[in-house]
Symmetry: C2
Amino acid sequence: MNSPLPDPAVTLPGEADILIHNALVLTLEPGAAPLADGFVAIKGSKITAVGSSSCPGPPCKSLPCARQTLNARGGLVLPGLVNTHTHAAMVWFRGLADDLPLHQWLNDFMFPLEAGWLDGDKVYWGTLLAAAELIRGGVTTVADSYFYETEARRALAEAGLRTVAAQGVVDFPAPGVPDPRDNLRVAAAFVDTGRDFSPDLITSTIFCHSLYTCGPETLKQGKALTRERHLPFFLHLAETRQEVEELRQKTGLGPAAYLDGLEVLDELTVAAHGVWLTPEDQDLLAWRQVKVSHCPESNLKLASGVAPVPGLLARGVPVGLGTDGAASNNNLDLFGEMSLAARLHKVWQQDPTILPAAQAVALATREGARVLGLEERTGTLTPGKDADLIIMDLDQAHLTPLFDPYSHLAYAARAADVRHAMVAGRWLLQDQQLATLKWPDIAGRIRTGSRDLAAFSRNLGRS
Amino acid sequence: MNSPLPDPAVTLPGEADILIHNALVLTLEPGAAPLADGFVAIKGSKITAVGSSSCPGPPCKSLPCARQTLNARGGLVLPGLVNTHTHAAMVWFRGLADDLPLHQWLNDFMFPLEAGWLDGDKVYWGTLLAAAELIRGGVTTVADSYFYETEARRALAEAGLRTVAAQGVVDFPAPGVPDPRDNLRVAAAFVDTGRDFSPDLITSTIFCHSLYTCGPETLKQGKALTRERHLPFFLHLAETRQEVEELRQKTGLGPAAYLDGLEVLDELTVAAHGVWLTPEDQDLLAWRQVKVSHCPESNLKLASGVAPVPGLLARGVPVGLGTDGAASNNNLDLFGEMSLAARLHKVWQQDPTILPAAQAVALATREGARVLGLEERTGTLTPGKDADLIIMDLDQAHLTPLFDPYSHLAYAARAADVRHAMVAGRWLLQDQQLATLKWPDIAGRIRTGSRDLAAFSRNLGRS
């Protein structure tokens, strides 16, 4: 695990910019043990060294030298969390329409709000709000799938988050794209303007909403557009029993077979939810190396169902965790998803050994990065990868005593325990303060807008 | 809702000691609307007035006058949460043995640890640690059921928590009671020494562990002891399928019918878990006015099952929320239980309208108080009741925007959002700092003890 360390007595060209020390370090590399008295050295955007040191702090022969040192004071350092599926700007609709049947929630509230109230500026500010919540909660990589995605991407770039931004495509008038014939053209333009952003941090791609909102031609063309650019392709898959039954009535096929016939399934396809996947569906997804984003809090709140995650994992399907949007969750806290995933499948399978703590933590980090095709860059603390990490405060009642840091992360820790967060060597959170975003500006803009939204939504749901 | 207000121009004998104002107040009284620009006035241990005021703060004609005012700065004020079932001192075993089958977890770890490692001093310090976590998480009333309960009660009294402390009874050698023939005598003595504590804050009673650890005579005598003192009687009921099947094989009866035959079921019996209750069991519990403590996080983590909470509620059975012990949870965070309860039954029943947000919040407050027989004293913000309340910070990304405070509490808020907590007019938490407990002392004692515990437990589970 230890990399060769420079002699701290001399300032070397390889000197680190930042050294985090006095930490319990979880690299999340497969099979790696926790590093007591651990350190992480960072130069530029990259991790240069990870290891253990028995001395109390620099200057110390066994620690790399660095321009800036951060004493983690016994805190826990791990890779930043990866949120593999959200609709960030939907934080606007948090708590606006809860506890409703899915079709009523969607048709009486979400679609009218998106059609009549949302605009690009609101997506920008909503995404900034989401970014603030994500960063405070230790998420350093986010896959966002929504409309007006140009504005969402601008907000996520300002926030400094590692981002996979996907422009939404549907076969009906969409927010910002009144004529559905323009949807794929707009999405392609979104992808191509992505070149203006750092490719190291921002991936721009396409999200075909679902099999019930996109016809076969749209799905094929959307996939073709992303395949030729070697980009991940997002879609909602088998979220509800109803959509799967309707597909089967219409086509005689299950969702995986249907998509396979359209040549949409490959290792660059990311399917969100995957609740109603039969063993045959799961076999086919595994065969085609499709990735799955598991969103348990949303699936429970909307009563969609429980995704067959143990079955997918047993078949070797890469599974990450996602929060879905805040309209159906109602938070963007990946610790909640970790805790729920680790518990839910135990009771669903009547087996308390399923999805143990360390595996749940891996889904939220390393496996999430794999789902997004970013495993070379993030998801573990490995020299050569980008420095995407969080530091958690362990000196708290609910994290005391400490026997197993994975257990604490999966079953006891919370978003509020994250003290510092870094993406590609840049601090996004320092001592729980946002470093790249101005919270008062965001809060002010959202509060003003939410009064307007409350007025707009007063007459919804009365049909 | 508004009580008659004293004229603030004169110092009256009825002047409040503390006035909390500039708050969004949820009284949790049935059917009461949230109070914008709300206030709560407190004199001694009691709430004297709750209402709305449109002025920015005192001095103000429409607000009661008080010796001390606290500007809640737009925060949310609600009754303190009620944790209806825990084993506080088991925080020692947090994360020590996860992801195991129940019988292995119990027989290879918990029972040997309790028999060979635990003592009264450790229960005292463990319970102080639990109290710190409970207070930080907004719990103001806790029902604790464990061994060495004299020590647990001492710790909870020091912490200032409203407490129902129940001494554990089993038919085999128990921690602190090597001869099981002494168990009921020790429990009775525990109850009777409870007179040394303020009856307004501390109730001392008995917890017969379960139907598989207590024979019929023990259950009958334990219940008789508490019935004649008009005290709540606690037991674990139908937590696992296995225990229910074994009971049925042995007696031919379901758990409710079996207990009813022993005359154990009445309005002073609190059954924890209640996972494997048939409709007939539920009917009988409802008929006998038994109360149920629902512990969903523990039930999922141990793969015990999902309690039929909607069925119990439909029958009018009072249901509260409990965390269970940290060895099976692994936290004492009632916000997590609220969020999980609100979600879990939706997916279990395939109905997203089940257990809506406001009902989940009621279970964690008003209904919890009812379960413990404390509804005259706590659980709602009502003049004449004790001042048990919490103030939550709403100025946070994950709680923005705000359309429905119940939705935020059930689906987005977290223990860490609690800024202040008060029991019977006494601050236990101020600006997130513990007011009655010394965290460094507790943390130091637990960390030292946990090294000893790690050494002791190294050879467990190898049988």
